[in-house]
């Protein structure tokens, strides 16, 4: 039963952190090149554009959910399971979500890279 809880928490962490990253990426893509914006309108305009962007705010909420999910999972299971599982799975879910929701061109090169990093992070974090 505890195992079911742990894996549900891991799934929850992976989903919320993927949602956070995708929304953050969407917000920044819509805001555009921050260097250009900074040169044109100054740092305050950059900060204002970011913190008032709805996707950015939802992304922050998702990251908070994922952080507290992590604390919860760590109270149920070992860190040597939770950290590698969540860190490495997010590379794969991010590639899927970026393709589906951000319409990024995830070609073979990016898939191989995501899978290598996923495997590497899992091995490193054990």
């Amino acid at each position: 039963m505890r195992e079911l809880y742990t894996w549900s928490a891991i799934a929850g962490i992976v989903l919320s952190s993927t949602a956070g990253d995708v929304l953050l990426s969407r917000a920044m893509r819509q805001i555009g090149h921050v260097g250009d914006l900074w040169r044109r309108q100054g740092l305050r305009a950059v900060l204002k554009a970011i913190v008032t962007h709805p996707s950015f705010l939802v992304a922050l909420a998702c990251m908070a959910v994922s952080f507290f999910g992590l604390l919860l999972a760590l109270s149920w299971a070992d860190v040597s399971l939770v950290i590698p599982a969540t860190a490495s799975l997010t590379y794969v879910t991010n590639a899927l979500a970026a393709r589906l929701f951000l319409h990024e061109h995830v070609d073979r090169r990016r898939w191989i890279s995501a899978l290598l990093v996923c495997a590497g992070v899992a091995v490193l974090a054990v």
Partner: protein, 144 residues
């Protein structure tokens, strides 16, 4: 990708790795905080190492946002996973931990992933998307 943009990616990796090391060093100095005295978490930020870690992680977040404003998520994430390798190497040099064979395998896998993704383009252009939809509808005209 211009040289400046690579610098932002390098800064991102450095901020994240050194931020984690500083946080972890600070929290180890403070010692375990029990659930009953969880409010001690708030006084933990007064520790200079924890404060430094938080500052560095703010730097990480700023460079992450900047990188995402001009690169794809599926480029930034694998490219900056080099931080895991850096963290493993830092733990050898600074904390004198032993690197086992499995860890070397992990380092090699992550480095391979980083090397592969950084060879390709950083941003999806409209042309790529059109090529992809064409590939789906007309697989005979396969592109290299």
């Amino acid at each position: 990708m211009s040289f400046r943009k690579y610098l932002v990616l390098v800064a991102l990796v450095l901020f994240a790795s050194f931020g984690d090391v500083a946080l972890s060093h600070g929290m180890k100095r403070i010692g375990a905080i029990s659930a009953a005295r969880w409010t001690e978490l708030f006084t933990a930020v007064l520790d200079p190492w924890v404060a430094l870690g938080i500052l560095l992680l703010l730097g990480f977040f700023a460079s992450y946002l900047a990188a995402l404003s001009w690169s794809d998520l599926t480029y930034v994430l694998p490219a900056t996973s080099f931080g895991y390798v850096l963290l493993a190497l830092l733990s050898v040099w600074l904390l004198h931990e032993k690197v086992t064979l499995t860890r070397w395998v992990g380092i090699l896998l992550v480095s391979g992933g980083v090397a592969i993704v950084t060879q390709g383009p950083a941003l999806t252009r409209r042309r790529d998307r059109e090529a992809e939809t064409e590939l789906k509808t007309n697989p005979a005209r396969n592109q290299p």
